[in-house]
Amino acid sequence: MNRREFLRAAGRYGAAAGAVSIFGWPVKIFGQSTAAGTYDLAAVMGGEPAGMFDRGIAALGGMGAFVRTGQTVVIKPNASWNVSPERGATTTPALVQRIVEHCRDAGASKIYILDHTIDNWKLAYATTGIETAARNGGAQVVPANSKGYYQETAVPGARSLRKVLVHELILEADVFINVPILKHHGSTGITSAMKNLMGVIWDRSFYHANDLHRCIAEFGLLRKPTLNVVDAHTVMMSGGPRGSSYRSSLSVKKMQIISADIVAADAAAAKTWGAEPEAIRYIAQAAELRLGIMDLDSLRIARIRV
């Protein structure tokens, strides 16, 4: 059995077993419960992205609750567009850098950053400032633009997304940190944590042609991030997801949402943007699939003002 077959089988059987982790590292199974055991979600307000992350992650028990010494980490920011970070279309680079630093301090052996960008990847990595930020933090920036890096993996229990080509680092890494930016989206309403994971798969067109909302939700059946950090500092309110100088407006909300529960993170993000979570179809569908909790009232939320 070669590595590729192993991964495929691991993906199939591991994920089929439901909550059992693909590779059996404990952090993934207990990721949600080990988060200091006190809070399910941290919401931070009033600061700059890097500083807000320091406070938020501390409330969840620090990065050490998610990253153990010697583990490999893969971080998925939104670096999809060849536009500068002030445009609010991509994740704040300083936040990415700070997350990398926290991972390093927690003893991560390798930290990878990747995004299957929509615009040309070299230009997008550079213009968004993500490449420099990641390198400064001590991460390795990985290309995600060639099909060779993607493994075809079955999605257990899926109706639309039965199989998907996933970047192998997403399957291999011990810890998977999702760092989206909250934005308006022309067809899905908003884009946040779940929608951001369209940048770890190869064929976006398949999602679009086969019930976009359903595919976005069903990816969670395969692999859920260990941690989601939603950058809601400067939020695009219209003209998203790319934004243009014409017809898009930005709102500085100075917020950040951190949670191991991707559905809860997106529900809180929807509220922050100004939408009801159940009105965003993929959030409602993910909750139905029991991928996380959409009802924010039932969660223990740390509300932190900086």
Partner: protein
Amino acid sequence: MGKNSKKAYTILRRARITVAAAVFILLYLSLSLTGPLYSSILEFLTSLQLLPSLINVIFAGASWLSAGFVPVMLLTLLVGRLYCSTLCPLGILQDLIIFFSRKVKRRRMHPLPPNWSVHLTAGLLPVVLAAAGIPSLLGLLEPFAFWGRTFRDFIVPAGALASSGAVEVFKLFEVYLAPIPFRGEPGAVALTAALIALLIFFTVKYGRWYCNRLCPAGCALRIMSLRPVWSIQFNLEKCTSCGICARVCRSGCIDVPAHKLSSDRCVMCLDCLEACPFGALDVAPNYGPGRNPAREKVRETTTGAPDPQRRKAVLVTAGALIAAGGAGILRAVTGGSRKSAGDTVIPPGSRSVEWFTSRCISCHTCVSACPTHVLQPSFFALGAAGFLQPVMDYRVGYCEWECNACSQVCPTGAISPISIAKKQATQLGRVEFVEDRCVVFTQGTACGACGEVCPTQAVRMVPYLGDLTQPLTDNAICSGCGNCEYACPVEGEKAIFVRGIPVHQPREVRKQLQSEPELEVPEEFPF
């Protein structure tokens, strides 16, 4: 001349090889890599290409600073076709083929007898057609264009294959690299491969056969180097007629019994100078007091019989020049042949179908430079006369908003330099939306792939049913970049596509609705 001059010739020959190697490697690097250094190297080297720089300056109005053809012509009038052995990438490629074929087997090339009429026809007909606004034959034969296609259709795919193997190896060491991307038309690759195979065959068998039979640049330079100021000449006093020089000659330009070296066919490889064991070959002036006296004897012996080849040559040249003049007048009167190309979109900076198709020699340098691979060689999309000219293929890629690479590398000005700001304000085509094919309408599920990627909001999503949104197009602000067409997930005919327009025009650039982000930090947590 004695040992010293022999030593000098060895140095000269090595200098020729060094310059050729440097040109070849720099051209390879500057075509492969991006950055200001590489683009200025590429610009410099392409400006030295005879016919491309001629078209660029004379027909596309480029600055005389890029008129590399002037120094090249002067150099040729002075010392002959040094261009062919040091600056022409296809010439250097043939020298590499000769080098390796001689390594494999000590073979004797079979130079074909000179044939002026074939070469003048092959050399001038493309020029005449190009003057009439049909540069496709010129593009097929012009050496830089031939090389450019060789690079793009042969070297890049080979590199892509090798690099994807290398990437797999590096991955084992947890180093993640990006393989060289190649996306393209297999037909173009097959055609180039066939032409390279022919070139290799003729080069191995006949040496620089292409350069003295088919090459339009070679033809022009032949005419200019009939009697350069200096050329390689026999010294009758030293020559033993051993024939070593003719054996090493790659151009078949040495007639040993007649002690004659035809400077017009000589590509100045200088091999014979180094090979002659008796120092019987020298670089000597053709004019003035320093003229080689021994050469006069040759002249006397050969002047008696007029060369029928030359007469034919004069006739063909005269005929071609008249035809070229006629073609030029015809073009001026009719205003070029093609004014429209159906729905085909041509790259930013190419102004109009007429401008582009009459200047592009299909060197595919732009195709190699395009980061999104949207520029693809066409076969008949621009008509038979536009054979191999590149077009925007929105099924393969889209025109990157912040990019003008193609216009920066085009050696002929078919794609004129255009700033990114101006490009963003230009319309290359117009968007068209077909509701009956759209996922939102056929399946009733959300999509919005087109609206998501549109950089101008010429396609944006507006409410349809419930929370579903549908695309709404606005052609006043459409740039024709093709992002929407590329992203559309519909199989077969896409639901949204760009129709090319025959003449590029300014698009309406609307004022921003909102320039500054609003500070709206909520008072309370919204949940």
